[in-house]
């Protein structure tokens, strides 16, 4: 049973455009929702995270939108750059013990 569903699997965006990646979860006990960025051959790096008492969090060009009633959250990358080309993972945790990851989205930002 996949508890965190991520879409799309891959995404191509032109430089300067907005990249949007969506995730949906099933377990209402989840209380922490991070996004990770991973470059080829490297470990994932925490990008931005949100808790369910907030509907939106912005850090630079990266924004998480959170919809608690729909059990969905999304990552928006504004003014996407070629250097943003990477695989992005959403995740969810309950009580800070373990993370459940989505399957990832490969983002390619074309010059």
């Amino acid at each position: 049973q996949q508890q965190v569903k991520q879409s799309p699997q891959s995404l191509i965006v032109q430089k300067g455009g907005i990249s949007i990646i969506n995730c949906a979860y099933e377990n209402t006990a989840f209380d922490y929702f991070p996004w990770y960025q991973q470059f080829p051959g490297k470990g994932p790096a925490l990008l931005i995270a949100i808790r369910p008492d907030v509907s939106e969090k912005k850090e630079g060009r990266f924004t998480i939108s959170f919809n608690k009633s729909a059990k969905q959250f999304s990552l928006h990358i504004m003014d996407s750059q070629p250097g943003d080309s990477a695989t992005y993972f959403c995740a969810a945790s309950k009580s800070g013990l373990t993370l459940t990851f989505g399957k990832g989205t490969m983002l390619l930002v074309s010059p």
Binding site: Q9, P34, G43, L97, L99
Partner: protein, 109 residues
């Protein structure tokens, strides 16, 4: 800030040989530690986690085992590798706001 060291970075092993991947953590004490396996297109699968020395929780039945001999050391082992053990193994500390290591790529031939 937390730093995770993993070694070896790359490993090629024959089927049936033993395995030992090591992970050490700097910059924090008494961390929760995790071993994940990453397969292409399948995200990160949690294999083991530990909340303290000698305490190991297994998430999936498999050919692997984990040990935590010291507070900031986490080891992934196998007595006899299978072809299906090939993959990219990641060590991480602390679920919320946590850090991943650079990974160990294992190829079993």
């Amino acid at each position: 800030s937390q730093t995770i060291h993993q070694w070896p970075a790359t490993l090629v092993q024959p089927v049936g040989s033993p395995l030992s991947l090591e992970c050490t953590v700097e910059g924090t004490s008494n961390p929760n530690l995790y071993w994940y396996r990453q397969a292409a297109g399948r995200g990160l699968q949690l294999l083991f986690y530990s909340v303290g020395i000698g305490q190991i929780s297994s998430e999936v039945p498999q050919n692997l085992s984990a040990s935590r001999p010291q507070d900031r050391q986490f080891i992934l082992s196998s007595k006899k590798l299978l072809l299906s053990d090939s993959g990219f193994y990641l060590c991480a500390c602390n679920a919320n706001g946590g850090t991943f290591g650079a990974g160990s790529r294992l190829t079993v031939l």
